[in-house]
């Protein structure tokens, strides 16, 4: 190797190393972004989240995601109907002594944020990805902040006790891991998998 080539390689190496050391703002690759999305999807498609992201006039409940009992319905503002609001039973925090989950603004996600089809089947990853991307854009939403701070999102990771006293299952990641995955995915340009 000539001295000039060696110097060039060192310079390239230094710049590459500097890029790596500046890992914060370094853009994750599409592959890394898709992997991060998979982690995000694993959470949003889990019962604690998806039970309120229905395409129907009702929420679901339970790990088996059955239709919410007692005939509760979506209502005109996604918060039930008068006399049978979400707030008729759900308070702003978990009621562990009576087994009812709660968080601020407990209600259904709007139909624009449905992650299931009309037959209550979870939509495939690419579709959910596109919905989240387009809705976030439409509402100018900082997804990382949303996933970090939104009360209903945080609730999923501390969902309280069931009526029989056993704790509800949480999503497959911790809240922190979920926020990290979101950050990575957004940083990668929010790539969505091919259909």
């Amino acid at each position: 190797m000539s001295p000039r080539t060696a110097l060039l390689l060192v310079v390239i190496g230094v710049f590459s190393t500097r890029s790596l050391l500046q890992a914060g703002p370094q853009t994750p690759s599409r592959v890394e972004g898709l992997a991060a999305w998979n982690r995000v999807y694993s959470v949003v498609s889990s019962p604690r989240c998806i039970n309120c992201h229905t395409a129907t006039q009702y929420p679901q409940q339970g790990d088996d995601r059955h239709r919410h009992l007692f005939n509760v319905v979506r209502g005109p503002s996604n918060a039930g109907v008068v006399g049978l609001n979400c707030g008729t039973c759900h308070q702003s925090s978990n009621a562990d002594s009576t087994g009812v989950p709660g968080a601020m603004h407990w209600q259904l996600a709007p139909l624009s944020m449905k992650w299931q089809d009309a037959a209550d089947r979870v939509l495939p990853s690419p579709q959910v990805c596109r919905i989240i991307v387009s809705e976030a854009k439409r509402h100018h939403l900082d997804l990382v902040q949303h996933h970090a701070e939104e009360a209903l999102v945080r609730w999923a990771f501390q969902p309280g006790l069931r009526n029989d006293g056993t704790p509800r299952n949480t999503p497959p990641l911790t809240h922190e891991q979920f926020v990290d995955a979101t950050r990575m995915w957004v940083a990668a340009g929010s790539p969505c998998p091919e259909r």
Binding site: L69, F70, N71, G165
Partner: protein, 729 residues
């Protein structure tokens, strides 16, 4: 119209006394059976009951009528006072109804037990309450006549006032004291029905307002000084016994008083007694109990159905044998129907769970109970406390429904409460059941398997009907007083009612049963045997009608036995009132069914469609023949309510199932009765005009809705529904 006033005979003794503050208390001995007629007088009483009160006329004009029946919603606290007030010519606006405590004089005059059950209240007490009213009226008129020195036949009564010749008048309230001193007539004249001004009219419930403003007190609402609340930790499998328990965590709960084992009718439980419900529940949740389940059958619904079906293929105890059932072998296969039906255990699930409050004063006791059979319960309470029944004052409070759950033959919840009160004398103890306790404590409508073979004749009518029924009897072998009445030739009539007394003429009928013993306590459940038997009968008849290409009402009318009078009247009226069923939209269908209960017949047509795989009942038309309609408004309410109650066993989660010995349903999420969207949108009720003696309406409508709906669904889907609940339409 004269009323014969005679000095009381020794046998027809009726006692009246004046209340200290004024007023008339009329105590009447009642006959079993009594048989007054409108034209003549009453025959001498057959039995003499010890004294007690039915009518009190207070100085302010209030007429307090004591009702010898528990009010569970069926409207007896209004109907019986109506009947008495009619003959009394009382001002209805001043009538109040009170529930009688346990007492011999309050026994059902026909059955001889103080109870509600079998829709017998109107049937058995109509005559009784008419006589009570007529006797009281006669005494008041006699008092007025005496005061004015005129003949009783010159007086008349209207709206709590006696009017005499000239402008004389006197209010009942003024006359009460004088009337109390008069001899009570043994013979009285009852009104001709054409003179009724109350009976037969639409009368609103006396208790309506109080039940709308929170002031109506039910058993569970009772609050007494020093009262404690008790809950039971019951065994997870019926009959298991407490081997030991660890209550250290439970005792940490503030407000907990005592924790101890108590015997149950089968097995034992741990009682938790605390200052209030929440403390008791918190403590019970912290109990660790070891159960001894040795030697106990672990019932399992899947296994039971398999066992029942196997039994159904073996000869059973013959209940009905008419003609020659072997005829079926000679009928070609295309003209035979073989059908097997499955019915699950059903819970009653009244909105107010079981509760009883007892104060044990050692040589006496007092109890407050929404009580269905007060006399038996009073006896059971006394037995456990080791005192005599007459040392127990047994108050009857309003009940939030029952549907049979409170009418136990073993008075189990009374014994449970007594065992707790025995341990804690001197203060009231309220034993209550949580909804989970109610759902899992047993005493269900039993599960049943039916196996039916029907042979059809060339005219499309059934020639032979072979019917096997497999299911528990809660009477057979128990030694309860009803057993002698209900069990004939080893067959419990409650198992076969609806089949054995089918109104349809069939020349060859064979009905047999297996009544296996299963470790699940069972009980009467509103409409009892008709609930499943009528389903089998009415869906099969419908299938026959369809095969014969005949209108289902016409088919039934043609097939009825000549003496099935009330079936004929109700089906005919239904036909007249359900012309809509011939004009339904394409995606709707109608279904017909009819049933009977203790003298009343109900026929029903439903208009049904299916939306998103779910049943939708748009309309139900009901025709009922219950003899004289005492209160049509109340009858309509029972038709509404009975239909909706009867829907429970059709709906997806309308079943109690057991797995490995444990009941799988714990609350309304597991056992889900009809909500408003499951009920018909509209129900129109038509009452056959009749002057026959009135018969009850609480249970008759219950069995018709399930087969009517199933028949409508069959018309829509082409499927036959033989298993309830209907899981998939």
């Amino acid at each position: 119209m004269t009323s014969a006033v005679q000095a009381t005979s020794r046998r027809g003794f009726i006692k009246a006394s004046a209340l200290a503050a004024g007023g008339l208390m009329v105590t009447l001995y009642l006959d079993s059976p009594s048989a007054a007629s409108a034209q003549g007088g009453t025959p001498p009483p057959a039995h003499i009951y010890p004294p007690d009160a039915f009518v009190r006329i207070l100085p302010d004009g209030t007429i307090a009528i004591t009702v010898n029946r528990l009010e569970v919603g069926q409207g007896m606290q209004t109907a019986l006072p109506m009947i008495l007030a009619e003959e009394l010519d009382a001002d209805w606006t001043h009538v109040v109804g009170q529930l009688a405590p346990a007492g011999d004089v309050y026994k059902d005059p026909v059955i001889g037990v103080q109870l509600i059950g079998g829709s017998c209240s109107i049937l058995d007490s109509f005559q009784q309450y008419r006589e009570l009213g007529a006797r009281t009226r006669a005494m008041l008129i006699a008092a007025a006549a005496d005061r004015w020195g005129v003949g009783a036949d010159q007086c008349r009564a209207d709206k709590s006032v006696v009017y005499g010749p000239g402008n004389r008048s006197a209010r009942y309230a003024e006359l009460a004291e004088g009337a109390a001193r008069r001899p009570v007539p043994a013979v009285v004249q009852l009104k001709d029905p054409s003179q009724f001004r109350l009976i037969g009219t639409w009368v609103r419930r006396i208790d309506g307002r109080a039940k709308c403003d929170g002031s109506q007190q039910f058993g569970l609402d009772l609050n007494l000084p020093d009262m404690l609340t008790a809950l039971l930790m019951r065994p997870p499998i019926f009959g298991a016994r407490v081997r030991g328990f660890d209550d250290r965590n439970a005792r940490n709960v503030a407000g907990v008083r005592e924790i101890f084992e108590v015997p149950l009718v089968a097995g034992s439980a741990v009682a938790v007694v605390a200052n209030g419900f929440w403390a008791a529940k918190q403590a019970r949740d912290r109990l660790a109990v070891d159960w001894d389940v040795s030697g106990i059958e672990h019932p399992d619904s899947v296994q039971l159905f398999a066992m029942y079906k196997e039994l159904a293929g073996t000869p059973g105890t013959v209940a009905v044998s008419v003609g020659d059932a072997q005829v079926i072998d000679r009928i070609p296969a295309p003209d035979r129907i073989h059908a097997e039906f499955e019915f699950q255990y059903l819970a009653h699930a009244p909105m107010e769970p079981l509760n009883i409050t007892v104060r044990n004063d050692r040589d006496r006791a007092e109890a407050w109970v929404p009580s269905q059979i007060p006399g038996w319960e009073q006896t059971a309470l006394a037995e456990v406390l080791g005192i005599k029944p007459e040392q127990v004052t047994y108050h009857v409070l309003f009940a939030g429904g029952s549907f049979g759950r409170r009418g136990t033959t073993d008075s189990h919840f009374v014994r449970e409460a007594a065992a707790i009160a025995k341990r804690l004398p001197g203060r009231p103890i309220k034993l209550m059941y949580t909804r989970e306790d109610d759902m899992t404590s047993g005493y269900y409508r039993p599960m049943f398997v039916h196996r039916v073979d029907v042979g059809i004749g060339p005219d499309g009518l059934p020639v032979v009907w072979k019917h096997m029924i497999v299911g528990q009897s809660f009477v057979l072998g128990t030694g309860v007083p009803q057993e002698a009445v209900l069990v004939k030739n080893g067959v419990d009539q409650l198992v076969i009612e609806g089949t054995a007394d089918s109104p349809y003429a069939t020349p060859n009928v064979h009905v047999s049963v297996h009544q296996p013993k299963v470790n699940v306590p069972t009980l009467s459940h509103r409409s009892v045997g008709y609930g499943h038997n009528s389903f089998v009968r009415e869906t099969l008849i419908d299938e026959l009608a369809m095969r014969a290409k005949t209108d289902p009402i016409a088919y039934r009318l043609n097939l009825l036995k000549p003496d099935a009078k009330k079936f004929r009247t109700s089906l005919t009226l239904l036909d007249q009132q359900s012309a809509w069923r011939h004009r339904l939209p394409a995606d709707h269908a109608s279904g017909i069914a009819c049933s009977q209960y203790n003298g009343t017949c109900v026929a029903c047509a439903v208009d049904v469609s299916i939306g998103n795989g779910r049943l939708r009942i748009h309309r139900a038309t009901v025709a009922v023949d219950c003899g004289l309609a005492v209160n049509p408004l109340s009858i309509e309410s029972q038709m509404h309510g009975g239909l909706i109650f009867g829907l429970t066993q059709v709906l997806a989660r309308g079943a109690i199932t057991l797995k490995d010995g444990r009941v799988e349903q714990r609350n309304f999420d597991g056992y889900t009765p009809p909500y408003i969207k499951d009920a018909p949108m509209t129900v129109d009720v038509h009452i056959v005009p009749s002057s026959d003696p009135p018969t009850g309406c609480g249970e008759p409508p219950v069995p018709v809705i399930a087969p009517a709906v199933a028949n409508a669904l069959s018309a829509l889907t082409g499927k036959r529904y033989r298993t309830l609940p209907i899981a998939t339409i």
